[in-house]
């Protein structure tokens, strides 16, 4: 299942679906990178609320996405990691160190604003 990517002002919002294969995740990464350049986005929110499992591959891919977005000059935030998913990630040893996270989409937009990449039209 493919991720849906929405554009809201300067911010791109990518919603990860519950059953995304590795290829789907890689495609989402490529589309996000293309869209950041195309729309000159300053912030990217990756919403993983629907994700029931974050294994080491998914975490590595998300970390890679955040790092690429950062290198392009934008800020990436992962939002919506479910409590039980977070617990499993810690047990597994996944930390997503250095990656911005927020409780949900709403909070993610607040964090982006605080970081100076708010979603205003330009």
């Amino acid at each position: 299942m493919r991720a849906s990517i929405l554009k809201q002002g300067n911010v791109l919002i990518a919603s990860v679906q519950g059953s995304m294969s590795d290829a789907d995740l890689a495609q989402m990464r490529d589309e996000l990178v293309g869209d950041v350049r195309r729309y000159r986005s300053t912030g990217v929110i990756v919403d993983v609320t629907m994700l029931d499992v974050m294994d080491s591959f998914a975490a590595r891919t998300l970390r890679g996405i955040a790092q690429i977005i950062k290198l392009l000059g934008a800020t990436a935030i992962i939002v919506g990691i479910q409590p039980e998913v977070a617990f499993a990630m810690v047990q597994l040893g996944l930390t997503l160190e250095g990656i911005h996270t927020a409780l949900d989409l709403e909070e993610g937009l607040v964090v982006l604003k605080a970081l100076g990449t708010e979603a205003h039209e330009r």
Binding site: S19, D22, V53, S56, F57, F87
Partner: protein, 133 residues
Amino acid sequence: MNGELIVPIRADADVLVARQKARELAKALKFSTGDLTLLATAISEVARNIVTYAKQGEIVLRLVSQGHRRGIRVVAHDQGPGIADIARAMEDGFSTSSSLGLGLPGSKRLMDDFHIVSAPGKGTTVTMTKWEH
């Protein structure tokens, strides 16, 4: 107890299938959402190992009981290249691919019982169990 499911693993999409089948099978047990997530995450790791290192294999999911305990047993089996140094493969951060090297040691932490048998050229079998609490 009866109930056994065999999930062939040949591509990364099969990792999702294995996870989903385990959740369905586990419905017969009293697992918390948290335990189901731990189980699904561990299955994801060992299934992914099969895809990455052996290209193909299978995951057998089985309901088991031991005295009054009930649980789900996961056997991940492949006839891939096998692991030369199991002790190192069980260390956090050790990987012969570009992965994070958390799959095996992480899965052990996620499950209650964990056992691995492997030798170069003989494939790998991981047997792990999650019990009801």
